[in-house]
């Protein structure tokens, strides 16, 4: 790119240089801010690595010669309660159970490889979280815009609906409805077993999640709809749909993006909690929750079995949160960090 002479001259003077004077798009400005945020870039790097691991889990496990489902009776000791070889003895080390063959160790009782199970578990968790976030964002944006722009009776109805959903004890409802609704889904033609259960998880997470976003969007719409360009569009006789989606929606991307990046990690954590409580995915499919539920009782004798999945889950959630924070800072620098 050609640099104008004036800037070059000032740079030579050693004075502070505004990098670009030229007009840039909003997204380019945001990306520039994001790139200068070191934490964000590190988090993004880790995140991309984890996403790639999840996406290519079958490939990676194949390369390492591991498999999340096959039993390894040789890696565990039937005489010692089925715990991994070398664990649970008076002189066992903190890292007992780890080996070159099974870098993250194996599951007690079955000897299934923990690294392979975590990678596969990460896939399921991310699939559920991404799907649920997408639906949440769609529902939340739609209801938020409609409610904020139309106002009046529509606003009142949607507002009360949101209040109603927000007042439910979500976790209890999810637990209580799981059996009935999963069967309903199966009756409606969703394949029995895991597909129905995963669909149920995605649906309940999004149904109970959208009002939070809808409220934020509604608030934004309330201020945007009074702006001149909207009044101009109305004056020119644009239809409601055009105003909603062509005039108002583009001004809402910042809050929606921010909300999405912050919701995703909470859904990952919620999915783990639900699997922990037994509402999640069926065995033998691995998930974070199921692995953690099994590992807590072994924390005294196989510390790595609890620590590794725990740290990995924390890492996924934290990196998503950090990236989400930085996206917010980049898109909306005035908000600042609290």
């Amino acid at each position: 790119m050609a640099v104008d002479v004036d800037t070059e001259a000032r740079a030579a003077d050693g004075a502070a240089v505004p990098e670009e004077i030229k007009g840039r798009s909003l997204s380019a400005i945001a990306w520039g801010r994001f790139r200068r945020d070191k934490t964000a870039m590190v988090a993004l790097g880790v995140l991309i690595f984890l996403l790639a691991c999840a996406l290519f889990a079958p490939l990676i496990t194949n390369l390492l010669g591991l498999d999340p489902y096959s039993l390894n009776p040789d890696a565990i000791s039937a005489e010692n309660g089925g715990v991994p070889n070398g664990c649970g003895l008076p002189d066992s080390s903190f890292f007992c159970g780890l080996s070159w063959q099974h870098p993250f160790g194996v599951e007690p009782g079955t000897g299934r490889d923990l690294l392979a199970r975590l990678l596969y578990g990460l896939r399921i968790s991310l699939f559920i979280a991404f799907s649920a976030t997408t639906i949440t964002v769609l529902l939340g944006t739609m209801f938020g815009i409609v409610s904020g722009y139309l106002g009046g009776r529509t606003d009142a109805v949607i507002g009360r609906l949101m209040d109603l959903i927000l007042s439910f004890p979500t976790l209890l409802i999810i637990l209580a409805l799981s059996g009935v609704l999963t069967q309903r889904l199966e009756a409606m033609g969703v394949p029995e077993g895991n597909p129905a259960r995963i669909t149920y998880l995605i649906l309940v997470l999004s149904v109970f999640g959208w009002p939070y976003l809808a409220r934020i969007v509604r608030g934004q719409v309330l201020s945007v709809r009074e702006r001149e360009f909207v009044e101009a569009a109305i004056a020119m006789g644009s239809g409601t749909r055009r105003i909603l989606f062509k005039e108002i929606l583009p001004n809402l991307w910042a809050p929606i993006m921010i909300y999405a990046t912050l919701t995703l990690p909470t859904y990952i954590a919620t999915e783990a909690v639900l699997s922990f409580l037994g509402v999640g995915v069926l065995p033998p499919t691995p998930t974070f929750g199921a692995i953690l539920a099994d590992s807590v009782s072994y924390m005294n004798i196989i510390p790595s079995y609890l620590l590794i999945p725990g740290v990995l889950l924390a890492l996924v959630v934290v990196t998503f949160n950090l990236v989400g924070d930085s996206v917010r800072d980049a898109l909306d620098p005035r908000a600042g960090r609290v």
Partner: protein
Amino acid sequence: MGKARPGVRAAVLVAAGALALTACGGSGGSGTSSSAGGAGGTPTKGGKITMLSQAEQWNNVDPQRVYTGEDLAFFSGTIFRTLTAYKFSKDAKEGTSIVPDLATDTGTVADGGKTWSFTLRDGVTFETGAPITCADIKYGVSRTFATDIITNGPQYAVSMLDIPADPAGGSAYKGPYKKTGQDLYDKAVTCSADGKTITFHLSRPVPDFNYTTTLAAFAPVPQAADTGEKYDDKPVSSGPYKISVYKKGKGGQFILVRNDKWSQASDPYRQAYVDSWEVDFGIDPAVIDQRLISGAAADQATIAYGSLQPSSLPIVFNDPKFANRRTNEFDPYVRYFAVNVKKVPNVKIRQAIAVALDREALRTNAGGAYAGDFADGVIKPNIGIDYAPTGMWDGLLGKTIPSTGDPDYAKQLIQESGQPAPTITFDYPNTPTNAKAAAIIASSEAKAGITVKPNPIEAGQYYGVVFDPAKAHELINAGWGPDWPNASTVIPELFTPSGGFNLSQVDDKAFTAASDAAKVELDRAKQAKMWQDLNKQASQQVFTVPTRFGRDQRLPGAKIGNAYLWPAYGSWPYGDMYVTQ
């Protein structure tokens, strides 16, 4: 002791060779055995034993409603006296033999086993000081019939007493609250003029009725104090202790103190060493194990309600400092998968399911050597003469089956059946260990072409779901222990339509007839042979896939004496334990 608790690992457990671990100290020949488990030395009076429980309350305290083994052992050792009782001993034979308790002897039988009489001891009283008479026992037993209020308890009185059935199939006597058919009950259970002798008239010969009378369901209840459903909160004691506190919930407590109206002279069975018992409710099982393992001064006279968690076993059994405290014995339970014959009617298919199963991996998952031995039927060796090897895995199914399963032979059996390889669903209480077991079942059956779908059920609702024929699937996780050492509490319960635990939904006319015949056989040796044959038939027909003869591991506090596993109930011998000072 009936059904094994679902979620809680009632029995999970250790190999035959490991028996030697706890076989120190002889088996006590007398009513009270000498040192075992924790502290040694001679028993001393005094002190308090604290029991830590994961549950937030007792299942039931009402004598007619108590049924699980651990609870029967606790309450019959402390507050409920019955006509007969099991001897305190860690020896399998001794510990399941009966001695008189409220009665002067173990009963007089007449009329070919259809009439049983018991004479009460002198000086037996309730905690109120009122003497215990025949009328109190008769009233207590009558409560069993009020099945709408007195729930969860054993139904032996209903099925054995000579009272006709009503058109709906239940008993014509509806219990002491409704009083429908009271005259029928008054004829079936009679009292002598002096109120000292009680006589039970049975509808069929029951050669071992005096074992039935060990159940708390045969404990006396004073009619005036009966509060129906609420009696469950504060029953009247007839034993050496009485209830002083019963607070349910997390942090709740149940405290027993000495009953000053009880006299040792009238009760040679219980030694009542300790001054009081305290049960602490709602404690996390990992915390319970941790407290017993670390053994702080305050926890030395402490025991846990039930067994150690599987994850604690390597710690307890690899550290020599626990060598003279830990126990590792067979419990009364057989672990098995019931095969629903209504849904899998073809015997070859059922055999294929059994043959394909990797029992070795299942046992390792349940705790390896601690989990128990491979089972070959639903009758366990520690029941005594009713057990004989069925050969289920040694040719009974046509071939010797390795413990890791034989998928090729399973495929052959499926081919012989002339049916396609089945798709079955496995019902299990949802716990992490069971989820891993479900994965093992699915992968081993898949090798024979059988598809297994896991169906986790919330542990608290488990038996309610699988007993509903509309909701039960093909393969059902279960465990069962005999109510007394006679397979009459196993085979008919598990495999006949009138049985209380017929998860396999067996309704085979010939099998039921043979089981009925065995029930009334008076020659004990002959009867044992009949049970052995029926057990073999059930194994060959694969009404169940027996997986383990379970074992049980416990760790009492360092100051607890006589802390052995009591074979009668597979529990602590509560009435025999003491605290060393």
